[in-house]
Amino acid sequence: MHPAPSVILFTTLSGLGFGLMIFLGLGFPPVTGWVAFWFFAFAFGLSVGGLLASTFHLGHPERALKAFSQWRTSWLSREAIAAVAALVVMGIYAVGAVFMGTRITALGWISAALSLATVITTAMIYAQLKSVPRWNQIATPLHLVSVSLAGGALLAGQISAAQVLLLVAGVIQIGHWWVGDTRFAEAGQSIASATGLGRPGHVRAFEAPHTGTNYLLREMVHVVGRKHARRLRRIAFVSGYALPLCLILIPGAAHGLGGLAVVSHVVGIAVSRWLFFAQAEHVVGLYYGARG
C-alpha cells in the first residue's frame, strides 16, 4: 500500500495523543491547574493535529461531516465519531482540571474509554480488510493499541507503566511482523484464483491493461523501498521500543532522558508505520503480476 505521509503522520501522532488522553483521563498523573494545562494542550495538539493531517488525504474534506453517518457498518465512520466524542468529553474534563482545579473522575473515565475506542476503531479500519492480508489479523489492533498505550504512558511520565507497556508493545510488534510475513500466502489468493485460469496450467500476467501507470498501481501496488525492510525494521524496533525502554530503566532517570526516550519512540513508531503501509500487499497486485 502507498505509504502516504499524511496517513503515517496521522496514525502516529493521533495514536500518541489519544494514548496520552487515556492516562490523563484515568488520573495518571492527577494533574490540575497549569501543569494540567500543558499536559492537555499537548494531548489535544497531537490528536487534533493528527486528525487534521488525515483530512489532507481526503478528496473532499469539506464534506467530512458526512463521515459521521454510517457508524452501523463503517469503522472509519465509527472512528470519526469516537474521536470527536473523546475530544469533547476530554475537553470538558480538561476545563474542570485546568480552570476549576477539580477532576471529575467519571468524566475522566469516560474520556479515557472513548480515547481507547478511537484507537481501536482506527486499528479496525486496517484489520477489517481481507484484501490486504498482512493487516487482516488480530495482531493489527493489538499492535496499534499497545503502541498507543506505551507512547501515552511515556508522555504521561508513568515510568513503571511505560516500562511494561514498551516491552509488551515491542513483543507484539515482532509478532505482527512475524505473522504478517506469511499472511498473504495463508490467505490463499494467487494469480490463479484471481483470474480463475489456473485449471489448464500455469498463469502468468502477459500484458498490463495500459502502457502507463494508474490509480490502482500507485495506491495499492507500492513496492518502492521494500528491499530495505529488514534494516528499517531494526531501526524501528531499536528506536521505537528498545532504546526508550533502556533509557527509562536507568534508575532515577532525569527529565532529559525521558524526553530523549519520547523522541526516540516517536521516530521509531513513524518508521514502523511507514513499514506498516509499504510492506502491506493488496491482492489486486495479483492481476498485475505481483507475486507472479
Binding site: 463503517s74 477489517q128 484464483s193 485460469l197 489448464p200
Partner: protein
C-alpha cells in the same frame, strides 16, 4: 446507506466469455466514451499526450498467458470491471453512505455528491474495480451503464451497457443473474461460469466463462501425414547438383 440489502429483486450483471474475447479493448473505449459524459464526474486523464499518461477507467483488459503441462501456451484476454458483489466490502466500509447497493437491481453505485474521496472503498475492493478520479477527487466505478439500461430515449437495442453493445466478438453478455431462467444464467450454467477469488466471500454477481480446451499438437492436422517432405536427401540429378554445389 452502507448497510447491504439482505435481498435484491434482481441481480443485474455481466457474463464475460474468456474464450471469445479477442482483447481488442473496444469495451474499454466504449465505457470511457459513454461514462465520461454521462453519470457523474467525467473520467479524467492526466498528462494524456505527455510522457507519463494515466487516467481513470472503469473497465480494463488484462492479458494472461497459460502454460499447460503439455502443448502450446495460450493467451487469454481478461476484461475486468466492477463485479457488483452481493457481499460488497466496498459498500460497508464507506463512512458517508456514498457507496450503496440498489435493492431493485443489485447495482453498486457511488453517490458522488456524498463522496469525501477517502479511498477506503478502493482499498476494500479485492478486484481493483474502483478508481479515484484525480480531477474530480471522487470515487468512480462501473455503474453497469445505469443511464443506458433504463433509458427510454435510446433505441431498444442500445439499452444495455456500452461495453456489451460495442463488443465485436460477442464476448460480453448482460442480464439478470438472479433469475435462473435468464439467458445469462443459462449461459453460466452450460459453460461452467466462475467467480473471481470466491474465497474472499464477496459473492460477485458478474461471472466469467472459462476458455474452452484447445486442440493438442498431435491432432492438429489430419492431412499432415500427406505433407511429409518427399525426399530428405535429393537423389539423381538434383543430388548430383547438390553435391557439386557444396564442393564449390
Amino acid at each position: 446507506m452502507t448497510s447491504l440489502p439482505t435481498h435484491t429483486d434482481r441481480k443485474l450483471g455481466l457474463v464475460i466469455d474468456l474464450d471469445t474475447c479477442v482483447g481488442c479493448h473496444a469495451c474499454v473505449i466504449a465505457c470511457k466514451g459513454w461514462n465520461t459524459e454521462h453519470y457523474g464526474a467525467p473520467l479524467s486523464d492526466q498528462d494524456a499526450y505527455g510522457a507519463a499518461p494515466s487516467g481513470t477507467f472503469l473497465n480494463r483488459v488484462h492479458s494472461y498467458e497459460i502454460t499447460p503441462e503439455a502443448g502450446p501456451a495460450q493467451l487469454v484476454h481478461f476484461p475486468k470491471s466492477c463485479l457488483h458483489c452481493e457481499d460488497a466490502p466496498c459498500v460497508t466500509v464507506c463512512p458517508t453512505g456514498a457507496s450503496y447497493k440498489r435493492v431493485e437491481d443489485g447495482i453498486v453505485l457511488v453517490n458522488e455528491a456524498d463522496c469525501i474521496g477517502c479511498g477506503l472503498c478502493a482499498w476494500a475492493c479485492p478486484y481493483g474495480a474502483r478508481e479515484m478520479d484525480l480531477t474530480a477527487r471522487v470515487m468512480k466505478k462501473c455503474t453497469l451503464c445505469i443511464d443506458r439500461i433504463y433509458n427510454e430515449n435510446l433505441p431498444e437495442q442500445d439499452r444495455m451497457p456500452a461495453c456489451v453493445r460495442t463488443c465485436p466478438s460477442g464476448a460480453r453478455h448482460f442480464g439478470d443473474l438472479g433469475d435462473p431462467d435468464s439467458d445469462v444464467s443459462q449461459l453460466v450454467a452450460s459453460r461452467g461460469g466462475f467467480d473471481l477469488m470466491p474465497d474472499l466471500g464477496t459473492r460477485p454477481v458478474n461471472k466469467y466463462l472459462p476458455p474452452r480446451p484447445k486442440d493438442q499438437w498431435d491432432d492438429t492436422d489430419i492431412l499432415a501425414p500427406f505433407l511429409e517432405p518427399v525426399a530428405q536427401t535429393p537423389q539423381g540429378f538434383l543430388g548430383w547438383l547438390d553435391r557439386a554445389l557444396e564442393r564449390l
